[in-house]
C-alpha cells in the first residue's frame, strides 16, 4: 500500500470518527472540539482532490472563524459554575432509523452508479484560476457575496447586543 493511500485512509477515519463524536458526545465542549477534527479532515480531503486554495480557505474560515465563534457561543450561554454542560438529545431511536435507511440508500446508490474514471490529473496551483474566475465569470455572485456578508454582520451585531434601558 502506498503512503498516500494510507494517509487518505487516516484522514477519512479522522473525519468520520470526529463527526460521529459531534453527533453522539454527551458534552457540548467535546462536540465543539470534535468539530475541529472534522474540519481539518475535510481540508485534507480537499488537498487529495487537488483543491489547495479551498483547503486553505477551509482552514482559515472554519477552524479560525466558525469554530471559535461556536466555542464563544458555548461559553456565553453556559454559566461557568455549571459543572455539567449538558447536550441533551431526544428521539434518538426514530432519528437513528431514518438516518440509517437514508445512509444505506445513499451508499448503495453511490456504489451501483458507474462513475466516470478519473483522467490523468496534473496537480497545479488553483489560486490564479479561481481569482480569474471570480473577477470575470462570477463577478456578480462575488459582489453579491460581499453584500450578504455585510448584511449578516450588521444583523449579528443588532441581534446580539444588549438592550439599553433608559
Amino acid at each position: 500500500m502506498e503512503v498516500s493511500t494510507a494517509v487518505f485512509y487516516l484522514i477519512a477515519l479522522v473525519t468520520v470518527i470526529s463527526a460521529g463524536m459531534v453527533a453522539l458526545s454527551r458534552n457540548i465542549i467535546y462536540s465543539a472540539f470534535s468539530l475541529l477534527g472534522t474540519f481539518m479532515g475535510v481540508a485534507g480531503l480537499y488537498v487529495f482532490l487537488g483543491a489547495d486554495f479551498v483547503a486553505a480557505v477551509q482552514l482559515l474560515i472554519y477552524v479560525g472563524g466558525i469554530l471559535v465563534l461556536i466555542l464563544f457561543a458555548v461559553m456565553l450561554t453556559h454559566r461557568i459554575t455549571d459543572v455539567k454542560i449538558t447536550n441533551r438529545a431526544a428521539g434518538r431511536i426514530p432519528a437513528l432509523l431514518v438516518v440509517a435507511v437514508f445512509v444505506v440508500l445513499l451508499i448503495q446508490t453511490i456504489k451501483e452508479t458507474p462513475w466516470m474514471k478519473a483522467k490523468q490529473v496534473v496537480f497545479t496551483a488553483t489560486t490564479a484560476t479561481i481569482g480569474d474566475a471570480f473577477l470575470y465569470d462570477y463577478l456578480l455572485p462575488f459582489e453579491l457575496a460581499s453584500i450578504v456578508l455585510l448584511g449578516a454582520m450588521i444583523g449579528a451585531v443588532v441581534l446580539s447586543r444588549k438592550e439599553i434601558k433608559e
Binding site: 482532490l49 461556536i70 457561543a73 432519528a95 484560476t129 449578516a152
Partner: protein, 103 residues
C-alpha cells in the same frame, strides 16, 4: 475505497451528511443543531470539489465550494447571534424552551 475513486469521496460525504442530519434531528441544544448544519454543509462541499476534480477539470466546483463556505460563515454569525438573543430572553438555549409564539 482509494484516493483515486470518486465513490470513496462520495461515501465520506454521505456519512458526514447522515451524521449531520442525526445531530440536527436529535439535539435539543441550539448550538449543537448549528454544528449539525455545519457538518451537512461540509459534506455538500466535499461533493462539489470531488465532482469538479473527477469530471470537468475546471474550477467551477471549487468556486461553488468557496461560496458555500462564505454562506456558512454568514449563517454561523447570524445563527449564533439568534442563539444569544434566545438565551437572554429565555435563560436557556433548549430549542423547546423558545415557544413564545405558540402561546
Amino acid at each position: 475505497m482509494s484516493p483515486n475513486e470518486l465513490s470513496s469521496y462520495l461515501i465520506i460525504g454521505a456519512i458526514l451528511f447522515s451524521l449531520g442530519m442525526f445531530t440536527v434531528l436529535t439535539r435539543r441544544n441550539a448550538i449543537s443543531v448549528l454544528m449539525g448544519v455545519e457538518l451537512i454543509l461540509n459534506s455538500a462541499n466535499i461533493n462539489y470539489v470531488a465532482f469538479s476534480h473527477f469530471s470537468s477539470g475546471n474550477s467551477a466546483g471549487q468556486i461553488y465550494a468557496i461560496f458555500v463556505i462564505m454562506l456558512a460563515a454568514a449563517e454561523a454569525a447570524v445563527g449564533l447571534a439568534i442563539v444569544l438573543a434566545i438565551f437572554q430572553l429565555f435563560h436557556s438555549i433548549d430549542v423547546e424552551a423558545a415557544q413564545a409564539l405558540k402561546d
